[in-house]
Every structure is written in structure tokens, then in C-alpha cells.
């Protein structure tokens, strides 16, 4: 177990290193490009911006095209402000993310500055932004409950999962035999989660209680990862907010279900000298939180790194302004994408396995020695 975790850690860090290196290289290329084409700096291709735009969240679901001509699916913007809830469609901003287009709703003025929606202070007509301090001078960031691209993608996963698994469940109403075809694959995966993840980590007696969470989390992460690999799709599991939420579910389950023995081992570890106990208690208490934090970062970093590598390889074509680069970039990008198919499953598996492991540690019955 420790070995595999170590392997995962090294695997992850090497991947992130590659991603960062690629980004650095791209940036240096890009600055060369900018030097060559003096005067047209603004129009030159900025790979960092492109990549950040692709892996970040946005209020509309952009598929292709630029500016007013682009094909973007408008999504609802829901803002929680001092004066109540304001809602409008993301198309109201007219693809503006520079804070120039002001939308009026519910008696307030809103601007979209790099996908952060600001509420302009009363009486202000334009956003004034301090680039140095990274803060708006005359506006506040609204509490944003919008159905963003990521939320929409999440809901798509929900729909896919409901169709798949309620469909699977409906099979058993008709017959008691094993399903055929795709449903059989689904059933095999459900049994895989039960027999390879839940049962060995949590134990025969208690695993059933945690099956709904583990199954949901496993399939949610996997399907979202796979959907994220489609062109134009969102980077949901590569968003830290999403992985934090998922990790907190695991943390909550370990805290709520931790038995007396578990807490005893955390706060007052038996079987060691009393002098060491407080020191170990600090380490163990930190461990309770670090374990799910590691889960959050692992999933976020792996998925984001995969996206960055693919985008960087494609970005090379535009930086070097040479279609011939595609001959090298595209096969590499295809290779990375195929690798990401594997990573999509692997990360879902690891997240679920480690969640099961942490829950298993919390509910384990210790033999008293």
C-alpha cells in the first residue's frame, strides 16, 4: 500500500514537472514570437492565457470561434448579492471577459472580469481594475452560484449516471440472471468496487454501509474524467473546488464514523511511552486532515496536468506558427490523450481506494494487545 502510494506520488510529481516545464518552454517561445512581431503584441498568441482559459471555469460553454461569432452555449448566471439573488444568462455579457460590458439586473450592475463576476458599487458605470494588486477598485466579487461550464458538465455526469445505473437496476426487476452486454460491464464494475476496493479496505462487516458513497464517487470521478477528455469539454475533476468538495466527503465520513479506538489512536496512541504520546497526537491530528487533502490535490493535479500537457503540445503549433510542427505535436498529444484515458480510470480508482482505506482505518476494530 505505502509503496503504491509512493509510486503514485512520484508519478504525479513527475507529470506535474513535465507540465510546468512545457509551460515554461512555451512562454519563452511566445516571448520570442512577441519580440519578432513588434507592434502586434496584443494579437500574438499567448499560450498561458489559452491554457488557463481551457482548464479554468467559465460562465458560458464555449465550443469554437472567437468573439461575437463564436459558438457558445449560454448558461444561467446566479449571483447572491446584498440585494438578493440576481439571475441572467451568460450571453448577456456578449463574450466579454475584460469587464467592459456592463449587465444590469435586479437594480445592480455586473461585469465579467476574467470569469469573476463583479458587482459595481452604486453610482459606478465602469469597472476600474488595479492590475498590480489584482483587485477591483470600485467593485466587489459577487458570491457566484452560477451554473458554470463545470457545473453544467457535472450535471451532465449526473444525467449520464442516473441513466446508466437506474437502467442497470431496472434489469433486475425483470430477471434475476446476469445482464448482458453493456449492463454486464456496469455490473462488473460495481462488483469490482465492492470486491476490490470496499471489502478489502473496510472489512466484511462494515463495507456495505459505505458502498453508496464509494460507488457514487468512483463512477462520478471516472465518468467526469472521461467526459473531460472530449473536445470542448470542461475540466471538472481538474478543478480544485470540485476535488476539495469530494475530499471533504471522505473527511466527513472518517470523522463521523470514526470509532472509539480510532480516536484513541489519534489522540492518545496506546503502546508507546507517555512522553511521546502528545507529539504523536499532533502528527496524528494533522494526518486526519492531510489524508483527504492529499486526495484533493492528487486528483486535481493529475487531471489538470494531463490537460496542460495536451494543450501545450497543441499550443506549440501556434507558437511556432508552423503547421509542420503538427506532425510531431499531434501524435504526442494523441499519445498523452490515450494515456489520459488510463489516468481517468486510475485516478477514480485511487481516489475511491484511498477513501475506502481511510474509512476502513476509522471503523476498524482493533484487537487489544
Amino acid at each position: 500500500m505505502i509503496l503504491s502510494q509512493l509510486f503514485m506520488a512520484t508519478h504525479k510529481s513527475s507529470k506535474i514537472t513535465v507540465a510546468l516545464m512545457l509551460m515554461l518552454i512555451l512562454n519563452s517561445f511566445a516571448s520570442f514570437a512577441q519580440l519578432d512581431t513588434e507592434g502586434a503584441v496584443d494579437e500574438s498568441f499567448n499560450p498561458t492565457e489559452m491554457i488557463m482559459h481551457h482548464i479554468g471555469d467559465s460562465h458560458g460553454w464555449h465550443f469554437f470561434g472567437e468573439g461575437e461569432d463564436s459558438f457558445t452555449l449560454p448558461l444561467p448566471v446566479i449571483l447572491w448579492t446584498d440585494k438578493g439573488i440576481a439571475t441572467f444568462m451568460s450571453s448577456a455579457f456578449h463574450h466579454d471577459v475584460e469587464g467592459k460590458h456592463v449587465v444590469e439586473s435586479n437594480g445592480q450592475k455586473f461585469v465579467n472580469y476574467h470569469e469573476k463576476i463583479h458587482v459595481l458599487n452604486e453610482g459606478e458605470a465602469m469597472l476600474k481594475y488595479d492590475e498590480e494588486a489584482h483587485a477591483a477598485l470600485n467593485a466587489n466579487v459577487a458570491f457566484d452560484l452560477s451554473i458554470t461550464k463545470n457545473v453544467a458538465s457535472m450535471l451532465l455526469t449526473v444525467v449520464v449516471m442516473l441513466i446508466l445505473f437506474i437502467g442497470l437496476a431496472s434489469h433486475y426487476k425483470k430477471s434475476k440472471s446476469a445482464p448482458k452486454g453493456f449492463k454486464n460491464i456496469l455490473e462488473t464494475l460495481v462488483i469490482f468496487v465492492r470486491d476490490e476496493i470496499a471489502r478489502p479496505q473496510i472489512g466484511d462487516k462494515k463495507f456495505m454501509k459505505f458502498m453508496p458513497f464509494l460507488l457514487t464517487v468512483f463512477f462520478f470521478i471516472w465518468i467526469t474524467n472521461l467526459l473531460g477528455l472530449l473536445p470542448g469539454a470542461a475540466n471538472v475533476t481538474g478543478n480544485i473546488s470540485v476535488t476539495v468538495a469530494l475530499g471533504l466527503f471522505t473527511l466527513a465520513l472518517t470523522i463521523v464514523n470514526g470509532n472509539k479506538d480510532y480516536w484513541k489512536h489519534v489522540f492518545w496512541m496506546p503502546g508507546i511511552p507517555t512522553a511521546v504520546k502528545p507529539i504523536l497526537a499532533i502528527v496524528e491530528i494533522l494526518g486526519v486532515f492531510i489524508k483527504p487533502i492529499a486526495l484533493m490535490i492528487r486528483l486535481f493535479a493529475n487531471i489538470t496536468a494531463g490537460h496542460i500537457i495536451t494543450l501545450s503540445l497543441i499550443g506549440l503549433i501556434f507558437i511556432l506558427e508552423n503547421a509542420g510542427v503538427a506532425a510531431i505535436s499531434v501524435p504526442f498529444a494523441v499519445f498523452i490523450t490515450v494515456l489520459e484515458l488510463l489516468v481517468a480510470f486510475l485516478q477514480a480508482f485511487i481516489f475511491t481506494l484511498l477513501s475506502a482505506l481511510f474509512i476502513g482505518m476509522a471503523v476498524q476494530e482493533h484487537e487489544h494487545h
Partner: protein
């Protein structure tokens, strides 16, 4: 830094979506699926166990059959042996019987031969006597004749008797 700064809105949505998803799937998918899979596994295990039992019973039955067959074979062998013995005894009895009978026949034949021999001897004796008388008669008749002639006559007569 945007990349690693959580956004509250998305976080809230993820938590809500997750809770709803867990609730819906538990109710409509996981519970029925797990139940059905569990039941199927139990029924498969039962079927396997009962198959094992049937196999054992079959083996027992086979062993019984084997036993019966062996018994039958032993019985058959015994019967054959008895029959053989009977055959042998019948043959030997018959042989003895035959021997006895043939001996008896032989004995009877000997007795008859003896009695017939006696009778023949008696007849011979009586004929010899008669012949002796006849020879004596003839010898007496020719007493006066040549002695030599008498001897020839006696011999001739004896020859006649022998021929008879």
C-alpha cells in the same frame, strides 16, 4: 493562482450535486443492484453447494452399485462353482455306477462260463465213457486178431475222438 484557489460557488454546487446523486443512486440504483447481485451470488453458491451434494450422493450411489455388483458377481461365481462341483460328482457317480455294472456283468458272464464249462466237461466225460465202451466192445470183438491191428484200431478210434 486562480488555478489553486477554490471557488465557493462551484464548491457549493459540487456538494449539492454529490448529495443529490448519492441519495438518488442509493435509492434507485445501488440498493437494488447490490441486493440483486448479492442474491444472485447467494443463489449461485447454493446451487454450487447442492451440486456438490448431488455429486456426493451420486458417488455414494455408485459405490452402492459397485458393492451390489460385486455381491452379484460373487454369487454368480459361487453358483458356477457349485454347478461345476455337481457336474463333477455326477460324472464320478455315473462312472462308478458304470464300473459296478460292468463288473457285475463280467462276474455273471464268468459264472455262466464256469457252469457251461462244467456242463461241457460233463458231456465230454459221458461221451468219453461211451466211446470207451464202444472201443472196448470193438477191441473185445477183435481180440483174436492181430495185436498190431488192435493198436492201429485203438489209435484210429482215439483220433476220431480227438476230431470230435
Amino acid at each position: 493562482m486562480d488555478l489553486i484557489t477554490p471557488e465557493y460557488g462551484l464548491f457549493v454546487w459540487q456538494v449539492v450535486v454529490m448529495l443529490i446523486l448519492i441519495f438518488l443512486l442509493t435509492k434507485f440504483a445501488w440498493k437494488p443492484v447490490m441486493k440483486a447481485v448479492g442474491e444472485r451470488e447467494a443463489s449461485i453458491n447454493d446451487a454450487l453447494a447442492s451440486a456438490e451434494r448431488a455429486k456426493e450422493e451420486m458417488a455414494n450411489l455408485k459405490a452402492d452399485n459397485e458393492k451390489l455388483l460385486q455381491q452379484a458377481r460373487a454369487e454368480r461365481d459361487e453358483m458356477l462353482k457349485e454347478a461345476q462341483d455337481m457336474k463333477k460328482s455326477i460324472i464320478s457317480e455315473a462312472t462308478e455306477d458304470a464300473n459296478e455294472k460292468s463288473e457285475r456283468i463280467l462276474e455273471k458272464a464268468q459264472v455262466t462260463i464256469q457252469s457251461e464249462k462244467k456242463q461241457a466237461l460233463l458231456e465230454i466225460k459221458s461221451q468219453v465213457a461211451e466211446l470207451s465202451v464202444q472201443i472196448a466192445e470193438t477191441v473185445v470183438k477183435k481180440q483174436l486178431d492181430d495185436k498190431k491191428e488192435q493198436m492201429i484200431l485203438v489209435n484210429k478210434m482215439l483220433d476220431d475222438v480227438k476230431l470230435n
